[in-house]
């Protein structure tokens, strides 16, 4: 097995774990942790793709921007979570399901 293929398995693993975490997490902060795991998968995927196409620098520079953007998203998510905690006193997403049907 080449390193590239191992890297791809790593990507799939991160995506799978991140998705699983997102599906079972009840705590908002854990939801955001799960999102971060998903993003890590995407980052590794971009680097691996750069390697696979022989354009590593392109893959790297895309990954840089992904890091920036998704850090920003994580921060906004955390800010929302804090605001939720402040207004509702909970981080449980089950309490955040008033909008339904």
């Amino acid at each position: 097995m080449t390193t590239l293929q191992i890297a791809v398995i790593g990507v799939l693993g991160l995506i799978g774990i991140g998705l699983y975490g997102l599906l079972i997490a009840r705590n908002l902060i854990k939801v955001i942790v799960a999102l971060q795991v998903l993003v890590k998968g995407a980052l590794l995927a971009l680097v691996a793709a750069g390697l696979a196409s022989g354009k590593l620098n392109l893959g790297q520079s895309l990954a840089v921007m992904v890091i920036v953007v998704d850090t920003v998203v994580a921060v906004i998510g955390l800010a929302l979570a804090l605001q939720v905690k402040r207004r509702m006193g909970t981080l449980d997403i089950k309490d955040l399901s008033t909008l339904k049907k």
Binding site: V11, I15, G18, L22, L28, V31, L35, L38, V39, G41, A42, A45, L46, A48, A49, G50, A52, S53, G54, K55, L58, G59, L62, M65, V66, V69, D70, V72, V73, I76, G77, L80, A81, Q83, V84, R87, M88, L96, S97, T98, L99
Partner: protein, 502 residues
Amino acid sequence: MSTEQFALDNVLLWLIGLPLVAAPLVYFAGRLFNLGRWAALGVIGLTWIPFVIAAQQVGTGSISLVVEGMTLRMDGISLVLAAIALSLGTLVVVYSNRYVAHEENEDKYYPMLVALIGVITGLGCATDLFNLWVWFEAMAISSYLLVAFYRDQPASLEAGLKYLVQSAVGSVLVLLGMALVLALTGTMNLAEIRAVAGQPATPGLPLLAAGALFVIGFGVKAALVPMHTWLPDAHSQAPSGISAMLSGVVIEAGLIALLRAVASLAGVTLSWGVLLMGFGALNMLAGNLLALRQKHVKRMLAFSSLSHMGYMLLGLGIAVYVGQSAAAAGSFFHLINHGLMKGLAFLAAGALLYVLFIKTGDHHSPLTISDLGGAARKYPIVALTLSIAALGLGGLPPFAGFMSKWQIFVAGFETQNIVIDLLVIFAALNSVLSLAYYAPIVNAVYRQEPSEAVTRGQALSWTMSLPLILLAVAIVILGLWPSLLAWLTGPAGTALVKAFGG
């Protein structure tokens, strides 16, 4: 950066750059002098100038702008998106003048709105897959705060959070798709990807996976059916101006991003059109059924956005499947009309929400159908425009929505393909089904006995009535003279078919 690349006479630079550069200024104008709303109006007003020039220059072709080795190209599709973003944006700024006045985050509302308009215009012009993603994320980030605008309302926060998490998941899926494309084609430029992806030497299966990731990832924003769950929450909890923007522009921007990305993989398989048609049928049915029993007006309108997305997808799917531009032109026409009609519906419902509840300090109560009762006597303009919007959305002539649906249907029948014919009839039946929830709105507003909420209602300001009247007039005019927008939708349809290699 060289002067050559940043030629200031390039109209596209002004069109995209102006709102983006001006957004911080709007923020400071609002923060320091409390002039945010006027600054925003000024900026958007100024942006109309490059838009008009750009519209003339684009014609049936395209214009481009080269920035730092990357190209932004405005073709028919981008022009449609820019047109609807700018028109609706202008009216929403006027409308919000009162709606968000004295709210805690008023100073942040306008710069975000202005930035949103600029970003959406840019998104339409992207020629690079990754660049498309960056614009897409910028659009999402500009809209998070707007959705969770009433941050002291738990429901609003909940909606914002769902929107954020689901968008983020979608964006990761898109990234995975991009990584696959990069790995197999070695480029991010959409045209180059197309060239490579069409070659027989390129493995097809992973590119199909990439296409699926694009459809799902961008489909979250475009509210395709199993991924639509954020939409009713976000649309109903956002301030009504933002609901109008979300429903009228943002989900369409998601759709256009989806089309751009998938078009680059057009050579891999012929089934993209079928996939779009399938999602179209699903969206129509699910949207209508979910809206049918809904008692909250804004939520009902949000669900009906799903079904309208379905009509657009149907037309686009037909166009992609048979390579015929008329159906795509119909879809883009419907995109514009939906922007106008749904925008009007949200703004009119929002006007009632404002005068009945928000103005009295009640941010919590939703507007239900029974609250609409008898609104016509006190708020005749809102009642009339809301009725026009509802009937237009239901596809009754002589409003714009009928004409665009008709165009899609005709184009579908012109293919003389029996399955497409059946899909069109299915769409027409759905249109009838949708009347079952639009008609009660009309009945409610014209009741004689005013509801309790209406009797307590406050006065309505002209800044809120004006956008309603303008939109209603536009809807009627487009319904009576549908070819008025052919200059806009025709090239867009051609551009789409060209992008998919027709």
